[in-house]
């Protein structure tokens, strides 16, 4: 068993070296495919990460109360809102609290607000949604309460973000599937060429009494080695690219989408397993599938 493994590995290395051209062609095609796959993987993960954080920021409805509305009346509203399925929390924000938050947001310039003779901010309710789909309904219920001055809910904005991210993810999925199909075809063709070149070899080995596994072993090892090397190369390239991108665009991304990129370490940790698994299986399946015909011939 162990002897077979060593024999297979040794033969695989010898064959890879002797058929350098084919080895390089396979390496290139698998690496290119993994690279593109990786880029789309990063795109989808980042988009869904950003969407989540955007959702988090826009999952509240602000209900501004008329000054004449009493705290008791507000309590009644809060109770009926809490009873809704789509609402996870309702918080009462008094004029004073609102002003304090406002000042805090203005930061160093907060002292300017001290000049106001009277607090212009209304009392309000902050409704946190558990389910964004129910946002519009909840907002209209709030509008119908007596004693409500205004309701603010960023529905259109949220819908736009959701629509864009949804479209992006669907497009990415389609492209990924398409790429996988294309690359499997490319890889299996490359392997088929190698196997075709070894058709005689397979036949001769069968004549001298080689078992199928004896023939398959070295080619399987070769396919898996090529797959693994491709995975390592593309991982390296993607790591470098992503880190560079985060470094250069990280700050802008924060300004544009008020969110950061997913951390490089987290991404790479996941990608290592995905790529190694993909590379190994593409190499293994590629060689087994293309060999099958010739193995059964003689």
């Amino acid at each position: 068993m162990i002897k077979n493994l060593f024999y297979s590995l040794k033969q695989a290395f010898i064959q890879m070296w002797r058929n350098r051209g084919m080895t390089l062609a396979s390496l290139f095609s698998i690496t290119a495919m993994l690279l593109i796959l990786g880029l789309f993987f990063f795109l989808t993960v980042n988009v869904s990460f950003m969407t989540e954080s955007v959702k988090e920021q826009f999952d509240t409805i602000e209900v501004f109360l008329e000054d004449s509305t009493s705290y008791e009346e507000a309590q009644t509203m809060m109770e009926s809102l809490m009873a809704l399925d789509d609402v996870s929390n309702v918080e009462y924000i008094s004029k004073k609290q609102a002003m304090a938050e406002f000042k805090e947001r203005w930061g160093e310039n907060g002292y300017l607000l001290d000049g106001l003779s009277e607090n212009p901010l209304p009392n309000s309710l902050r409704v946190t949604l558990s389910n964004l789909q129910g946002g519009e309904l909840t907002a209209s219920i709030c509008r119908n309460f007596i004693g409500v001055e205004d309701v603010r809910y960023y529905q259109t904005e949220i819908n736009k973000v959701l629509a864009i991210s949804d479209a992006l993810q669907k497009a990415a999925m389609v492209i990924i599937i398409f790429l996988v199909i294309v690359s499997v075809v490319v890889v299996s063709n490359t392997v088929k060429l190698t196997v075709m070149a070894r058709r005689d070899e397979i036949m001769i080995m069968k004549y001298v009494g080689a078992t199928n596994w004896f023939i398959r072993g070295p080619m399987l090892a070769e396919g898996m080695l090529i797959g693994m090397i491709s995975a390592v190369i593309s991982l390296g390239i993607i790591w470098a690219l992503y880190e560079k991108m985060v470094e250069m665009l990280g700050d802008q991304a924060f300004v544009l989408f008020s969110t950061t990129f997913v951390e490089t370490e987290f991404m790479m940790f996941n990608l290592v397993w995905i790529f190694l698994a993909l590379g190994l299986s593409i190499g293994a399946f590629g060689s087994i599938i293309s060999m099958r015909r010739y193995l059964n011939e003689a």
Binding site: R18, D200, M203, I204, K206, Y207, V208, G209, A210, A298
Partner: protein, 227 residues
């Protein structure tokens, strides 16, 4: 020992071999002659289990190989050395590696391989070609490599499919003498050939096949017909 008992193999309408009976004893030297398409290749392919018989039994060393599973076939072939008209050497492997392949298949150790391959190459008179690639050798030398590969594991049988077909008469006769030596050392030889003068000069047992029938089986026979 090879024994055919009422072996029939047909391809579509035609019987490539019809109710064939033959007994080849250990140590025999048999020429298989007959026109192209007479059933000689079928005979050889049946012994190697490249194809299986439609009916009848084929006994190799007492075992009915028509009942062998696919897993048993490699074992069968390890007891049979094969030599072909077109040599069938691997162009990307050296002479040494080509011969070593047959030993690697049976999981011989590298030490044994390094000891035995040069020995067999020198028996074949090509010990100085070990590191050459087959393309750099003459046809006769290539056939010597192929024979070395066929007999390195001491098979009980050597099956040669027109081994001299691509060789000039002098080289062909040299190869025949090598095969004769192998036979004298106890290996059963079955050789398909169209070479009339070789058959007549060797004076061995001749089995003639025509249209799927064994039409003649004579010891010390002659080629016996014109192509």
């Amino acid at each position: 020992m090879i024994e055919f008992e009422n072996v029939t193999k047909s391809f579509g309408e035609t019987d490539a071999l019809h109710e064939a009976n033959i007994l080849i004893e250990d140590g025999d030297f048999v020429f298989l002659v007959g026109p192209s398409g007479a059933g000689k290749s079928t005979f050889i392919k049946l012994i190697l289990r490249e194809i299986n018989a439609d009916s009848g039994r084929i006994l190799v060393d007492g075992q009915d190989i028509t009942r062998f599973s696919n897993r048993q076939i490699p074992k069968l072939r390890r007891d049979i050395g094969m030599v072909f008209q077109d040599f069938r050497l691997l162009p990307h492997k050296t002479v040494f590696e080509n011969v070593a392949l047959a030993m690697e298949v049976i999981h011989a150790t590298q030490r044994t391989i390094k000891r035995q391959v040069p020995q067999i190459l020198s028996v074949m008179g090509i010990e100085d070609k070990a590191d050459e690639f087959p393309d750099h050798l003459s046809a006769g030398e290539q056939q010597r490599v192929a024979i070395a590969r066929a007999i390195i594991n001491n098979p009980k049988m050597l099956i040669a499919d027109e081994p001299t077909g691509n060789l000039d008469p002098d080289t062909a006769w040299e190869i025949m003498q090598l095969i004769d030596i192998i036979n004298r050392r106890g290996t059963t030889v079955v050789m398909v050939t169209h070479a009339k003068d070789i058959v007549n000069r060797m004076g061995k047992r001749v089995v003639a096949i025509d249209h799927g029938h064994i039409v003649r089986d004579s010891v010390g026979g002659e080629y016996g017909y014109d192509d």
